[in-house]
């Protein structure tokens, strides 16, 4: 629980979080200091409410799409960004993508293949197998099918990702479920969305027919839930329980081993202190005789994830470099159009302001301020609403990409909205603002006359 709070604090106290807080403070100070100008801008905007509202809604919608796309890209960037400290290391089968390593690898790899004094040992580790089962083998539909991470449940709080998205109550439930799973290996945790699809509740027992371990059908008891979001559709099962079932198979089949008995381990995660330790660890495992049948590949988790996401590279490139710029350009165009029209309609007003003593710079500021206010307001409302509503109701953006079922809108979205809305408004209003600045009093009044 402490680590959860620590995570939240770290997130807000990192340079990015601090710069956001500083930025908000600066804007508030400027608004207080220039409240007369602000009130003038608001009055100008409220004179044509329809136009202001239409421009605001337009910005709102387009910023929402940008928020969604950046949410996906941000999470993938985080997953594939190389860290220098507190590294997660991924160990997989070297030549096959299926990952079918013997269970013995898990025990030996907990020490990172250390055999000499001075060898590096991982700070933590987690072994993964996958179990896919159905409640009704005669009716293979998505509704009666469940996917499990088979692992040591006590590793969940220290090794799994996205725990910072859990609330304190969810963390408390997680710890309680882990205790129950330790007491009885047949107990499982199930994501709330999957549990709803299966129409089951906590405390119920279920029998699953395996789809990836032939004849290994398991009886399980649901002892807790995993919250909506990353784990909402998944389940967690004790790896020992699966291994026990595979061992039991040989007892009921005249000593014949199950075909998957020595292929249960799909992935192994290790945690190391820094890049130096990772390199030593990778060397130890690669040179160890314990892990060469089948041989294994040791890489940072970010590098491993990048390999798995490689199939989507063109799609992600398109999102990043085609869709987002085109939407930003559209937003700038919409705002530029609205502000240009507004400036054209108010040439006389600008001339009067000049006669009253407003400098060209002040008129420029007025027009830019109007655009900035509409853009920032639309953008802020959009990304803040997306953050609250999408995360609150759906537990994140429901878009299945590879193994990721949902993308939680990051806290950074709270500054993306105002920034994107403001920046595109500024870009779109520069030319109209310069036109307003250069309005010639004599020309305007000559026409009026």
């Amino acid at each position: 629980m402490d680590s959860h709070i620590q995570g939240l604090l770290e997130r807000w106290l990192d340079p990015k979080g601090l710069s956001v807080v500083a930025g908000v403070l600066v804007i508030l100070c400027v608004l207080v200091a220039k409240r007369k100008a602000l009130s003038f801008i608001i009055k100008s905007l409220s004179r044509n409410k329809v136009r202001t509202i239409l421009t605001g809604i337009s910005t709102f919608m387009l910023v929402m799409i940008i928020t969604f796309i950046w949410t996906v890209l941000h999470m993938l960037d985080l997953m594939t960004a190389e860290k220098t400290k507190d590294l997660k290391v991924l160990v997989t089968e070297k030549w096959s993508a299926r990952g079918q390593m013997p269970y013995s690898y898990a025990r030996d790899m907990e020490d990172g293949g250390a055999r000499r004094p001075g060898d590096v040992k991982p700070q933590d580790s987690m072994a993964w197998a996958f179990y896919i089962g159905t409640l009704d083998a005669s009716k293979l539909t998505r509704e009666n099918f469940a996917f499990f991470f088979c692992m040591d449940p006590t590793k969940f709080p220290t090794m799994m990702d996205s725990l910072e998205d859990f609330t304190l109550a969810e963390m408390a439930e997680l710890h309680n479920s882990i205790k129950l799973m330790k007491a009885d290996k047949s107990r499982i945790m199930l994501g709330v969305e999957r549990m709803k699809a299966l129409n089951k509740t906590v405390g119920e027992r279920i029998k699953l027919t395996s789809l990836n371990y032939k004849d290994i059908d398991l009886e399980l008891e649901i002892c807790g839930t995993l919250p909506k979001g990353r784990y909402g559709q998944a389940g967690v099962m004790n790896l020992d329980y699966l291994q026990d079932a595979l061992d039991a198979y040989s007892r009921t089949h005249k000593g014949e081993k199950h075909p998957m008995a020595d292929k249960v381990l799909s992935l192994m995660f290790l945690r190391t202190e820094d890049m130096g330790s990772f390199q030593l660890l990778a060397g130890q495992i690669a040179s160890s005789g314990l892990f060469n049948n089948p041989p294994v590949k040791v890489e940072t988790a970010s590098s491993g994830v990048a390999s798995f996401l490689d199939a989507y590279r063109d799609l992600l490139w398109g999102l990043r470099w085609l869709l987002v710029p085109a939407i930003l350009a559209t937003m700038s165009l919409v705002i530029a159009n609205a502000i240009s029209i507004s400036v054209r309609e108010r040439r006389t007003e600008m001339a009067v302001l000049k006669v009253l003593g407003f400098t060209p710079g002040q008129i420029l500021g007025l027009v830019l301020g109007e655009a900035l206010l509409v853009g920032m307001a639309g953008g802020t409302l959009s990304s803040w609403l997306a953050y609250i509503v999408i995360n609150g109701i759906y537990g994140g953006l429901p878009f299945q990409l590879a193994w990721i079922p949902v993308f939680r809108i990051p806290v950074n979205a709270l500054w993306w909205g105002p920034l994107v809305g403001g920046a595109t408004a500024l870009a779109g209003s520069i030319l109209p603002a310069l036109t307003a600045r250069n309005v010639k009093v004599s020309e305007v009044f000559a026409k009026v006359g």
Binding site: L54, E93, S96, A97, R98, S303, G318, N337
Partner: protein, 507 residues
């Protein structure tokens, strides 16, 4: 005050709409006639056409062949009705668009960007649908192990059973089609995903997941899947290996290389890393601890096999821990009854227990990813559309407020309220149409681009290299979309123009 004004505006708009019932009725009758014509002539043809032969598979996702002619016909009819039924001042509108060319251009440009984006995104999904649609052969039945969600989870028995028809009994065998030599058209296959070590452009080591299909009779498998080799290549031999002789650096070696046949998509991708050109017969590459030699390149563009490497099962399987057949594909002699035959096989074959399905059904299930992308694109496009609709609404409201005097003059010289309404409505449609045409043209640039992706039925999935396809229905969708945006964005401002009172607007 505001509410009272709004209520009065709403009431007068409703009265106007009631008064113009004859016009609307005319449009409606035309629309229904068009619907009947389309229904009678096109719909049965579309429904009769099998998925893998007829219209582009995108038709099954959003049925453009039905919706598009109706939609575009509706807009065409609307234009014609307006021009024929009344004196709409079209010339005035066109002149105004030219005079306010900056605003017109900027608004049209916003449409252009949105429509171009939509076209490119849908071209991607279109390519995915075309890919899965083209991979299925009529009359083919795919057999996987019972309960297997995809090929990677299936196990049909040890690969030592090389007789391709071992699963079937004598009675079942008589329904299997044969080739010209009397050999049954059956292919036993093993789907393997291997990890290949490659270097990225920065020289860093990374992994590529490579799809290998282990086979025994490549020529037969190709015949079953309707594939052939490009000239200059040949299928791998019975041995499945050949001596390398001389390495690319000129060094002599006694090493053997595993023979492989490649889809042209993967040949292009792998060749780019090694030789900066697509791989050709005779080229060497490495997977696992072995060297592989290309013996042929398949004409596989537009199918899932485009991303596969085919090799001798008994050699490739053990290298990657796969000792079982995963898939059996057979061609029935009665394609029209392939569904019944597949169901019968599922019931009758028990050792091992299997799930047989037509290849069309199998590839339809792989469309889960495509449908998900399609839904995501529709959501993105819808939100973008709302943004753009408000954009054009803004422009049109501004156009009206700038031209209140014009409207007053026209009303005084005899133009009626509804003519004013349609005049401004047409103006917004015109801007949208210009933007849409440019957007479709811009989006068409993406036609033929290659992209990588995954097709999946919910579990596992296949890496594929697809081509973006901008076809007629897609362009028509873009135009329909842009005109709908223009219509929705232009309606409210046009109604407000209609409401203007001549004398008040001249003050």
């Amino acid at each position: 005050m505001f509410l009272r004004k709004f209520a009065s505006w709403l009431l007068s708009s409703l009265i106007f709409l009631l008064l113009s019932v004859p016009v609307l009725l005319g449009i409606l009758i035309g629309f229904v006639v068009l619907l009947i014509i389309v229904g009678v002539t096109l719909l049965p043809a579309v429904l009769r056409t099998p998925i893998n032969l007829g219209p582009p598979p995108s038709a099954h996702a959003f049925q453009p062949l039905i919706i598009l002619p109706i939609g575009l016909g509706f807009f065409a009819l609307l234009f014609l009705s307006l021009l024929l039924l009344g004196r709409v001042p079209v010339g005035y509108n066109l002149r105004n668009l030219l005079v306010r060319w900056r605003t017109t251009l900027m608004t049209a440009l916003a449409f252009t960007l949105i429509v171009a984006l939509m076209t490119v995104m849908l071209a991607f999904v279109n390519g995915l649908y075309r890919l899965t649609g083209n991979s299925a052969q009529p009359g083919n039945i795919v057999i996987l192990a019972d309960g297997a969600l995809d090929e990677s989870m299936s196990s049909l028995g040890n690969a030592s059973s090389t007789s391709p028809i071992y699963l079937l009994n004598q009675e079942q065998r008589q329904y299997v089609a044969s080739d010209e030599h009397g050999e049954p058209l059956v292919s036993l296959e093993s789907y393997i995903v291997a990890a290949q070590q490659v270097q990225d452009p920065q020289g860093r080591s990374k992994r590529r997941f490579l799809q290998i299909r282990g086979l025994t009779e490549p020529a037969m498998t190709a015949q079953v899947h309707g594939l052939s080799l490009y000239p200059g290549g040949h299928w791998f031999s019975q041995a499945g290996v050949q001596p390398i002789g001389r390495l690319p650096n000129g060094q002599e070696t006694s090493e053997q290389a595993i023979q492989a046949v490649l889809g042209e998509g993967i040949a292009r991708v792998m060749g780019a890393d090694l030789y900066q050109r697509p791989l050709q017969p005779g080229d060497l590459f490495e997977v696992g601890t072995h060297k592989w030699v290309v013996t042929g390149i398949m004409e596989s563009a537009g199918s899932t096999f485009d991303s596969e490497v085919w090799a001798k099962m008994q050699i490739a399987g053990p290298l990657f821990g796969r000792e079982n057949w995963t898939t059996c594909v057979l061609r029935t002699s009665m394609p029209e009854h392939s569904k019944e035959f597949a169901d019968a096989l599922t019931k009758e074959v028990k050792n091992p227990a299997i799930k047989a399905q037509t290849e069309v059904e199998y590839y339809d299930k792989l469309n889960t990813t495509n449908q998900q992308f399609l839904v995501a694109i529709i959501v993105v496009t819808a939100i973008l559309a709302v943004g753009s609709i408000f954009g054009i609404m803004n422009t049109m409201f501004a156009a009206i407020s700038q031209r209140t005097k014009d409207i007053g003059v026209m009303r005084i010289i005899g133009f009626s309220r509804w003519q004013m309404l349609f005049s401004f409505f047409l103006e917004s449609l015109f801007i949208a149409a210009i933007g849409g045409i440019l957007g479709c043209a811009l989006g068409y640039v993406a036609n033929g681009w290659s992209a990588s992706s995954i097709v999946s039925g919910g579990a596992g999935g296949k890496s594929v290299v697809l081509k973006l396809i901008v076809d007629g229905p897609l362009v028509a969708s873009g135009m329909l979309f842009t005109l709908t945006m223009g219509a929705l964005g232009g309606l409210l401002p046009a109604l407000s123009a209609m409401r203007l009172k001549p004398l008040e607007s001249l003050r």
